[in-house]
Symmetry: C2
Subunit: 318 residues, 2 copies
């Protein structure tokens, strides 16, 4: 089977590419080709099949990005929340026009490919106590979430029309991301674990009882691969799934940090950041995963396992 990944140079795109390269198959079928597409030519993993790397603008997608014979398209290219909020036109261009371009590329193929799309918990707004279910309406509180929710509608309609066969995953906040703290409101979620585990200080702008809906990078990658091969016959018109993430409080995260690395908790410094609090309090933290579980998405491991995964990844990389 032939696979294409938009946003193939990104954090999750690279993880999916490396998994395919390592395993050589997807859903029991041998991978015979992989195209990685991103704004800059993505790094190519060593693989037992041909890999092509292409640079370009997803809103002006070249035909080579989703070539004839593509069976699976991971459509991961996105302008994320802080950037889409800062630059409306850029967010609209990548998150909406980019999705339209993927639809059009799929329409040109002889067989409708599976399209795995990443939407986000940021497409919801809710209180900390609300439980989001499969039927919950998306009322986004940010442009990124609005554009993702609109793109979900476009892909579900394209599925109904037979242009493609979409499965959208509304990913939880991915934690622990590698890298450095940044200006994203969600930056602290990874930072309060990552920096102390690396012996550095981190800033915490919310209270201990603040709850979050998270998923580890490995778990998110597993779900993306499952979405690429699951039987969609029973999904009906609704092609979007809230995968079974993990509800954790900041207090539980700090306890897991301390358990993994005694003394590390002392590196987390509480700061007042009302502008960050104002944003993150619209993020839902509790979901009913019944539909995702019935579609075969694996339940998330423990918070301790998530911290252990990061430590193992860091050791492997160094």
């Amino acid at each position: 089977m032939r696979v294409a990944i938009t946003g193939g140079g990104g954090f999750l795109g690279q993880r999916v590419a490396r998994r395919l390269a390592r395993e050589g198959h997807l859903g029991g079928r041998a991978v015979t080709g992989l195209v990685l597409f991103d704004i800059a030519a993505p790094p190519m993993p060593e693989a037992p099949f041909p890999v092509v790397s292409i640079a370009g603008d997803v809103a002006d997608l070249p035909e080579t990005a989703i070539p004839p014979g593509s069976d699976v398209v991971f459509h991961l290219a996105a302008v994320v929340s802080a950037a889409a909020e800062a630059d409306y036109d850029l967010g609209r261009r990548v998150n909406l026009r980019g999705t339209d371009a993927v639809v059009d590329a799929c329409r040109r193929l002889a067989r409708p490919p599976r399209v795995v799309f990443t939407s986000s918990v940021a497409s919801f707004s809710a209180s900390q106590s609300e439980v989001i279910g499969a039927a919950t309406r998306q009322v986004p509180a940010n442009s990124y979430g609005a554009q993702k929710a609109a793109a979900e509608l476009i892909l579900a309609d394209a599925t109904r029309r037979g242009f493609l066969d979409a499965v959208t995953l509304r990913l939880p906040t991915v934690c622990i991301r590698p890298g450095r703290p940044n200006k994203a409101a969600s930056s602290f979620v990874s930072s309060i674990l990552r920096e102390p585990l690396n012996g550095e200080a981190a800033e915490l702008p919310v209270a201990d009882d603040f709850a979050l809906w998270i998923a580890s990078p490995a778990q998110a990658t597993d779900w993306l691969l499952h979405a690429a091969s699951l039987d969609t016959a029973g999904m009906g018109l609704d092609r979007s799934v809230n995968p079974p993430g993990l509800t954790v409080t900041v207090g539980e995260m700090l306890a897991a940090l301390e358990a993994a690395n005694p003394g590390a908790r002392a590196l987390v410094r509480r700061v007042a950041a009302p502008e960050i609090e104002a944003i993150v309090t619209t993020w839902p933290a509790r979901f009913d995963p019944a539909r995702a579980l019935s579609l075969g998405f694996a339940p998330h491991g423990s918070l301790d396992a998530l911290v252990g995964e990061f430590i193992a990844d860091t050791r492997r990389a160094s």
Copy 2:
């Protein structure tokens, strides 16, 4: 106040224009100018203020369509359900790119205008028994509904960003439309009243107990004018409203027809049309209007009044 109407040549656009021309004010403020925009230059009503008529493509909206100083924009331009289903690119261009063009036009204005947008009951899919509430998720079963639901998200986000101040009305099936039967799945809804009231035969493809969610042209126009001037301060992130339409069964419609014009019912002929039945059974027929009523949208009059309105309109026109 200055008013602009995209789709100003359409059925509802012309009704709004004539109401403004006749009344000379909107929400207690004098109308000082009206721009009508459509694919063909719209007819201009006689009015106590200047009226401009412009022809063009809404996706490539000229600056004159929403000129500097515009206070209210009725964004009614749309490719409707049968046409959007028949031509995907045309539906996307008008229903999505057209909405983006309206957003961009509003961003250029010094003050964010009120934008009144028409979405549709077709953005939902449901069984006949389901009751749609303000929190019900839109899972469209047609491209028109999907594009309208996506445009709602785009306008709500543009509102949150301060580009404009949107109120979206998810209109019920408008009945009785003037004109002739057409290939739209909804054609029979108006036709089973309109044709017999005009002494002509009509075809009925569904059973007597089939329920519909409808609104008269006058009621829909009233709601559009109310949406143009209501206080949006309490609406929060959710800028979409299900106005308080009327749930009627086909049997009730036929009884109202017979009451208005004894013998007319015999002009309605039952036909088997499984392809129409398959489409219309996804249309919800029952709504909870609590939010709309709290926002001041007037409850709908009776079915007998709706039939009487059509008879009076027809007499006035002839």
